[in-house]
Amino acid sequence: MDRNTTEMQGVQTPNPKQASKSGNRRGAGGKVFQTLFIPVLSIFTGLVFGAIVIVATDTTVITAYGNFFHAPGVALRDTWNVIALAYGSLFNGAFGNPAAIVQAFQVYFATGDQKALLTAIYPFTESLATITPYILAGLAVAVGFKCGLFNIGAEGQFGIGALCSAFVGYSIKGLPWFIHLPLALLAGALGGAIWGAIPGYLKAVTGAHEVVNTIMMNYISFLLGDWLLNGPMKAPGYRPLTPVIQDSAMLPRFFPPPLRFNWGFILALAMAVLVYWFLFKTTMGMEIRAVGANPDGARYAGMNIVRNFVLAMTLSGALAGLAGATQVLGIDHWVGQNYSSGYGFDSIAIALLGQSHPFGVVLAAGLWGFLRSGATNMQSMAGVPLDVISIIQGLVVIFVAAPAVIRWIYRIRLARSEAIVLTRGWGK
């Protein structure tokens, strides 16, 4: 994950065999190749494993394999059909049907009729709308990683951010949109920031490991959300959800309904650029990265570890809270139960896949958004439960965190063995 650590480790443990083989062929291109190659291969392997899981649990295929020796062709054909249907519907759900899109464009240019076009690009815009919170949540976890902190609390921070921004969204009436909308976004970011600052502070002052504390804060935020949605923040009616937010707090959408693609996406990209600038072009960002790379060295250099831990966790929480805010203000316009479900672990995978670099996170979030968006279609069209995505996700996390596993599977010889140490032990 951290280039410096990798290179230092390489220097300390010289391996003559590998050095002569791969060392001479290394160049600048090699690093880029390696940076992209491992994640891409990890995703591919994850999808392959996912396919195996889907096939192995499909009853049609199981019965077909029962008859394997009588009718092997049937078994193989059924296997292929299941995979094709599953991943085909995944693709269609993520990008839309390519043929339909082309046709719709032709219709549009010929007659000016928008309806077919809108229907055809709906899956793609839905994916983009799904990607938005992933970018922000992934940035949140990435900022944490840059400081050596494992923020698993993105889900709780997301939920709190959503609730805060929804509250500002529905309770304040009569404000113009250019005040109301930023205010609501800010409220979400602030809520998440506080939710992240608490474990950050506890870690900095008492050494309590942020993994357990952020997870505890997650559970507390779920329960708090439950109480709020059934009590103070409940809309009139039976269901536990907030009232719909005011029009002045909604993020503007690009296309007429039912397309939900909105300015939140642009905001997320802007935040990625902002985080990049902060981490790599400012002193504070450099301090955070220094503390992440080597806290003892940073302390020796006079940097305030406590302040940097708290700052990193607060920023991380703010980004996750903003993710929740954009989801409410741009997509749903109200908050219901289990609103943040799944974003926590997804964002960890995205941050790891993007190597904790803001632009990598955007790419990884893109991939993840497409996967998740398509998975809903896969569940309805092919009957494959959504949770297979979680399995693929966990596997991708492992593959990215241990390039050695990918290399072992594919028998590749790339650079010298890196042990990516992202976090330290308990309370150090």
């Binding site: 965190a401 042990a419 032990g425 308990w426």
Partner: protein, 423 residues
């Protein structure tokens, strides 16, 4: 206050730590007074059942009736007094001090909650002890693997998978013991995966654990949707282990019905705690384990196989977590619900830290967490004006408080979290 008496003794430095603890204790006392003492009417009584209703095994003892207001005032006074003492003189064993005041707070909360009605205290203690079982097993798994310096936070994933494996196999074979064995096997397999990733491939231990959690949750949700939901009778209806009453010991008042009328998994847990304690501190294998955890390099030069020790420990830990998972299904409700572990794995890790990586200490800590867990169940029965969601937060908040107070002073095995590189 500082007079010739103090000068003769060793003068305790007025450290910031002492000030903070003293203030916190006094504050707690005042809190007891304000929250609970002022919210009860004079003359109210709280009664506690000390004999479980309808239980013929135990020697019956009469219920305990306490006058509410005086009791709460007394407890508040004790807390304030101890806090003041700490501020003025300083008490050496701050851990015990905090424990006593915490007890005062909890006791006054209970008394306030039962003002004017009665509560089944023995039942609540029994629930605490039983509900601490999965937390204790998770803590044991943590202890055994961290003692050899491998952090295993994949406990949620292992417990979920173990729970599903247990219930599915137990329902299929109509045999709960097979369910238990399958859960142990599943835990061993997942532990082995974690061990291979962490030891052979040197994956960051926290990342590997998190990945196992993600995969465990995803896999069990997936299989539940694919198979269990549609085949409840064939795969998700196992029944539970029956309670086994130990004949003579159950007659002991209070302790008897709390401890000696539970099921196999509970007794197994107690046994495992004792065995683990003995093995870890009184056998050569335990010594090797601890050496590997503190200074693997030194252990390696003496001929201890660091990698093998870690593999064995993590796999055995996985088995323990598998039993913990089995508790949720075949030891408790007899069916699998998605994500039913609900954070118990992480609470188990907190118990392990609180217990200072000692099996017996970790078990004591899990009892506290189990008590917090049972509190919210009982409190929902007594209608008190705190919303149930806040009561459900209790175990998680307690975990955070415990971690904040203890971690700085609790030292993990020195090599915890670092992969071992054989040079």
């Amino acid at each position: 206050m500082e007079n010739h008496l103090v000068e003769k003794k060793e003068k305790k430095p007025f450290s910031r730590n002492r000030l903070v603890i003293g203030l916190v204790l006094v504050g707690t006392g005042l809190l007891i007074l304000l929250l609970f003492g002022l919210n009860v009417k004079t003359g109210q009584l709280a009664s506690y059942e000390l004999t479980p209703r309808g239980d013929t095994n135990v020697i019956p003892i009469p219920r305990l009736t306490l006058p509410v207001q005086p009791s709460i005032y007394l407890l508040a006074l004790i807390a304030i007094f101890l806090g003041a003492w700490q501020l003025a003189r300083g008490i050496r064993s701050t851990g015990a001090l905090v424990g006593v005041v915490a007890f005062c707070f909890v006791a006054s909360f209970l008394i306030w909650a039962t003002a004017g009605s009665s509560m089944d205290l023995v039942g609540m203690l029994n629930t605490s002890v039983v509900r601490s079982t999965p937390i204790a097993l998770a803590a044991m798994c943590g202890v055994i693997s961290e003692r050899s310096a491998v952090i295993n936070i994949g406990l949620e994933g292992i417990m979920l998978t173990g729970a599903m494996a247990a219930v599915a196999s137990a329902t299929l074979t109509h045999n709960l013991y097979i369910g238990l064995l399958v859960a142990i096997l599943t835990g061993a397999i997942l532990g082995a995966i974690h061990a291979v990733l962490v030891i052979r491939f040197k994956v960051d231990q926290i990342v590997s654990g998190t990945a196992i959690n993600i995969i465990g949750a995803g896999l069990t949700n997936f299989l539940d949707a694919r198979f269990l939901e549609t085949n409840i009778d064939k795969l998700n209806n196992s029944g539970v282990f029956p309670n086994i009453t130990i004949p003579l010991l159950v007659k002991i008042p209070i302790l008897g019905p709390v401890l000696f009328e539970n099921n196999l998994i509970f007794y197994l847990t107690i046994l495992l705690v004792v065995v683990l304690y003995v093995v870890l501190f009184y056998t050569p294998w335990g010594l090797r384990t601890r050496a590997v955890g503190e200074h693997p390099k030194a252990a390696d030069t003496l001929g201890v196989n660091v990698f093998l020790t870690r593999y064995v420990n993590v796999i055995i830990g996985g088995m323990l977590a598998g039993i913990g998972g089995a508790y949720f299904t075949i030891g408790s409700v007899g069916r699998f619900d998605r994500l039913m572990t609900n954070g118990k794995g992480f609470i188990g890790l907190a118990a392990m830290i609180f217990g200072k990586w000692n099996p017996v200490g970790a078990y004591a800590a899990s009892l506290i967490f189990g008590f917090a867990d049972s509190l919210q169940v009982k409190m929902q029965i007594l209608s008190i004006p705190i919303p149930s969601e806040f009561l459900q937060m209790a175990p998680y908040i307690v975990t955070m408080i415990v971690l904040a107070g203890v971690v700085g002073r609790a030292h993990p095995p020195a090599a915890d979290g670092a992969p071992y590189n054989k040079e």
